[in-house]
């Protein structure tokens, strides 16, 4: 059965909250009922039908055609099923996902994958700031699942990450893995200032030599056994990451300014 398809009619005038357009909220609805779903914006009342041409289909698969940086909260709270998005998205795509798959064939705004606890989020373009990070006041960012960014990520990617795996295939901005609680972040390109700043636990893999805080202490070069497990797991998801993980790593323990039980593993040359 074909997926439910939303084709963007025009660039939205204002930010548009697309959170209701997820499989579990579309189940059992026809195209007319879906078109009447209200989408939050500012003072205007807008429905899904106002903004998208809708073709009914299998609600476990949703296809968005045409994107905009004003489309926020795509796939928020996704629990199962698959959403494919052709084009750029706004803030907090995939926020609080606990299952299913979200693929964005474009750039994503800030807070993509925020609070993700399961499932798979793939961003084929670049991710904005605070990839996977918590909203203000929240104590944890990503809590599970897998995020893959084929491009680069903005500042403070994986802020307060608690569990799960994030792969950034190109560069990451300043303070990547800041305040990391646990989990695994892999960056294949260069990183900005002070990666893993105030990291408590967790692992940051880096392919390029970082500009680390002096509160990270070198603790030797090893062919870690656990990296092979990640390499095998990620082989189908990111061949470049899998290749990196098959090598040896120089380990830096830190951040000693806080708990100091985290590690930055830099590919040994």
């Amino acid at each position: 059965m074909k997926p439910v398809t939303f084709t963007l009619r025009r660039e939205p005038d204002q930010r548009l909250d697309c959170a209701p357009l997820v499989p579990h909220r579309l189940a059992g609805l026809g195209a007319g009922e879906i078109a009447r779903i209200p989408l939050n914006t500012t003072r205007q009342k807008v429905t899904a039908g106002d903004m998208f041409r809708i073709r009914a289909g299998d609600p476990t698969k949703i296809h968005f055609e045409g994107g905009s940086e004003r489309l926020d909260n795509i796939a928020e709270g996704l629990t199962a099923g698959e959403i494919q998005f052709e084009g750029p998205v706004g803030k907090a795509a995939g926020r609080n996902m606990s299952g299913g798959r979200l693929t964005i064939a474009g750039n994503a705004g800030p807070f993509a994958g925020s609070g993700l606890s399961g499932g798979r989020l793939e961003i084929k373009g670049n991710a904005g700031e605070l990839l996977g990070g918590p909203f203000p006041g929240e104590m944890q960012g990503v809590r599970g699942g897998l995020i893959i960014v084929r491009g680069s990520a903005g500042h403070r990617a994986a802020d307060r990450m608690r569990r799960g795996i994030i792969v950034i295939e190109k560069e990451a901005g300043d303070y990547v893995a800041s305040r990391m609680i646990a989990g695994t972040l892999i960056v294949l390109g260069a990183t900005g200032q002070l990666p893993a700043y105030l990291m408590r636990r967790g692992t940051l893999f880096l392919a390029e030599p970082p500009s680390l805080s002096p509160t990270f202490l070198p603790s030797g070069t090893f062919p870690f056994g656990f990296t092979r497990l990640f390499a095998d797991h990620l082989r189908a998801e990111s061949r470049a990451a899998a290749r990196l993980l098959r090598g040896s790593f120089q380990r830096y323990a830190g951040d000693m300014a806080v708990l100091g039980k985290g590690e930055v593993l830099v590919a040994a040359s």
């Binding site: 799960g164 695994t184 090893f222 056994g225 656990f226 497990l229 797991h233």
Partner: protein
Amino acid sequence: MNIRGVAIDDTFAEAFAMAATAITITGPTRRWAMNAATSMTGFATSIIGCGCEAGIDRELRLSETPDRRPGVRVIILSMSPQELQKQLANRLGQCILTAPGSACFAGVGGSTRLKLGDAIRYFGDGWQISKRVGDGRHFWRVPVMDGEFLCEATTGLVSDAVGGGNLLLMGRSYQTTLRAAEAAIDAMRAVPDAIMPFPGGIVRSGTKIGGKYKGMLASTNDAFCPTVRGAVESALDPSIASVLEIVIDGLGEAAVAGAMRAGLKAIVRLGPKRGAVRVSAGNYGGGLGPFKFHLKELVA
């Protein structure tokens, strides 16, 4: 029943339900994987005195181990999941954790789990690191003096494992009997999910239940001891010079049957002149164990 001159008794091996698990042990080289596995399965011949029965199931190809290093699959069985957990944790902590370069992984699935790394992670004294690989598998990294001990958090419990399958081999001389037992063991080792826990897979001191002395749970199986023939109700005719037993444990009834079948086939192939002239099996009349392996059915 007589096959190519080897008499197969019309009897059966009586076996019991046991709790079991399998683990994969890897090392930097085959030698060190095997050292850890040999140590871990040491003093694990019989539940009577060892608390568990354990053995090496098989060596693994590099592509079969989670960390792509040389590895060995080990099976360990006990009478209850609680005792199995205790033996597993002790042997993991004393024999695998201690072996240079070792790592340890679950060797069998299952919804009921036994603690592996979860049981010894505190050895890391706060520096242990938890890692979950995306498919739900959970590992512990424990810092040790040569680097890191990587250990999967749990392994699966096999609650319907089978222990106590057996073959009794009888020959016209000590040498031919041992040769037959060795041939049988070589064939049985190729059967997956089954182990022969005694030294080299062979036991020469088969037991009967109880004894004349107070407190003896088991004593020598005098009916099969050639030197007391005549003094006891012997199961041996005058032509038998020596008897050896092979005990088989497995992760299921099919594994034990498969190993016994492979052993019988090897014994028959060797023939009575160079090997055993008769094969029997031990049982308790059929009233104790839920599993019965009839020799005739296995060679049919």
